[in-house]
Symmetry: C2
Subunit: 354 residues, 2 copies
């Protein structure tokens, strides 16, 4: 249809997608105009006219977050990709719109076979754009706020992570366990909040007044913790949406002349490199990033080899890494709920697939 | 010559380099055999037959080091590259030989325009291989142990960084300043060692018995510092080849019931994210990674646009970030060598170019 519209051969249309340099500029422009007018998407047959796969996967490089999770992911992605003969093309973009501009550029140049999306969020326009443009991709992170997604994703069960943190502190005798979170409306933040709330309610622990929220950061964690410790009934355990928040909590505990892990226990999220280096060492929920990377590559390669297959969804379980910042509740002679022996070092949970 | 040897056209030879998929496998094999036999390197004219630039730069992703410098570099490279319309293709490799295998693969596939090398070291075989294969590249790091290099590089003046650390502690009244280094033979480690030695000698400070070396790491730093503190004449200041070593030094000071920044001052290297989060905050020498990335991209793009230009060499100055871990020497009523006012927060040095 594009070929007829632009009065060129089918091969020329294929070249416009896959080897635009083989066409004269005027021809290329005519084909592109026809493509734009018709909203044309190359089908599998047209695609298979491509001379060869690029064996390159595109991935936006996001600024390092507090836990360094996205840097860890990139290393793991490169390892997993290379094991399958692929490499990862990384690019910067200031926001999602600019990311889509880069997608457009890379697809036009035929520079990549597909994409790995990270940092999915509410009202994310990227998956829809990629689906419309028949690009192959997989997302690290669920399609938050969307009931049925038409694309593949791999994610970590954050709620399970914070639930396990609550159970861990409850086994140590804590019965007032607070949560430091980020403002409602972020998919990841809400998920971690729900895990805390669900576990607390299941264990008949109080939640009222114990969830505090602010923008992620050390200073936020410090301010929120100070507020909690100065309240009429301060918590003895604090679970945090991030390690940054947890570091702030440790500071506030120290500021108040208290000892973390003895007077107040703290659990962070992401097990950033700093968690192991701090004194006391910070207990933290660790995402199985290497498994995530392998699943992402497996799912994407399956998408590349077989068009039209059902979207894959993989939800992996994090595990709690226990360090000195979480200890027995003050005054708890022995843990009241310890039906099984306390973990000596690390609570591992098997990865769960859906 | 290759064309005649393989009995094909020049265009076919060009295709063998730039679009091997356009050739029949037998033809490709014949051309490659001729190329191997003749040790052929495509000249600029042959290169310019290439249909288009890939606008992609290849870079091996090295495991995160303690300071996170290489992750910072990748982010900065992506930013600098994208500002010039380029992207960065990252790949894993277990060692230099595997890195060269990936180079071979990427060059054969015409997947990149050039490379950024990192982690240069003594007896590095990669620059020679790339020169032989007429690949365009720039190195982050000097060609250690080579008198005259035929390729371009950008590096940070590590010796200048440790020299400034010595001068900083001397101004604070310290007159026994130790150095925790890595075993001799590493270009980067030796450079940082020389900066300490040179500055100490210039200030007529002792060096004998004050340089301790071990494999990089927190436990090494702890062990070496314990040894120094238990010696007959312990130092009051310690400059470290890395932040990992410095964290170990802080631990040993704490283990000995001493206070870092008051009894013993410590300066690290690389200003890793943890340096600012530790209590006391760790003074550390920071590499100007964003400037390094811009220089690397500028130099590489110049190489891509103009073949045969003289290799560029850029040596950038680091700056010392002063935090609480470095304070006045014990008993120093006022700093004896303070000819100019003490820095309030950060000693900045102008970037120096050679």
């Amino acid at each position: 249809m594009v070929a007829r519209h632009a009065a060129v051969s089918r091969q020329t249309v294929s070249n416009a997608f896959n080897a635009p340099d083989r066409l004269r500029p005027e021809t290329l422009q005519r084909v592109r105009a026809a493509i734009d007018e018709l909203g044309y998407r190359p089908n599998q047959a047209a695609r298979s006219l491509r001379s060869h796969s690029t064996r390159v996967i595109g991935c936006r490089l996001l600024p390092s977050n507090s836990g360094g999770v996205l840097d860890r992911l990139l290393h793991a992605l490169c390892d997993a990709a290379r094991a399958s003969g692929y490499d990862v093309l990384t690019f910067s973009a200031r926001d999602d719109d600019e990311e889509i501009e880069v997608y457009t550029d890379l697809l036009r140049r035929g520079a990549v076979d597909g994409f790995v999306l990270t940092n999915t969020h509410h009202l994310d326009t990227r998956p829809g754009w990629l689906l419309e443009h028949a690009a192959r991709f997989v997302a690290f992170g669920r399609a938050w706020g969307v009931r049925r997604t038409a694309h593949s994703w791999v994610d970590v069960d954050g709620a399970k992570g914070t639930s396990e943190a609550v159970e861990h502190l409850a086994r140590l005798g804590h019965n007032r366990i607070a949560f430091l979170g980020v403002p409602a409306g972020s998919g990841v933040g809400d998920d971690r909040y729900r895990g805390w709330e669900r576990a607390a309610e299941q264990l008949s622990l109080p939640v009222k007044g114990l969830a505090q929220r602010a923008e992620d950061g050390i200073e936020s964690g410090r301010t929120l913790t100070r507020r909690l410790l100065e309240s009429a009934r301060p918590p003895t355990g604090i679970i945090c949406v991030s390690d940054s928040m947890a570091i702030g909590a440790l500071r506030a505990i120290e500021d108040g002349g208290l000892s973390a892990g003895r007077d107040v226990s703290v659990v962070g999220f992401d097990d950033s490199p700093i968690a192991a280096v701090l004194r006391p060492g910070l207990s933290s929920v660790r995402q199985p990033i290497e498994s995530v990377a392998h699943e992402l590559i497996d799912v994407l390669l399956a998408e590349l080899s077989e068009r039209g297959r059902a979207p894959a969804r993989q939800l992996l379980a994090p595990r709690l890494v226990v360090r000195e910042s979480s200890g027995p509740a003050p005054g708890a002679s022995r843990p009241p709920k310890a039906r099984r022996p306390l973990p000596s070092h690390t609570l591992e949970t098997k990865e769960r697939k859906q």
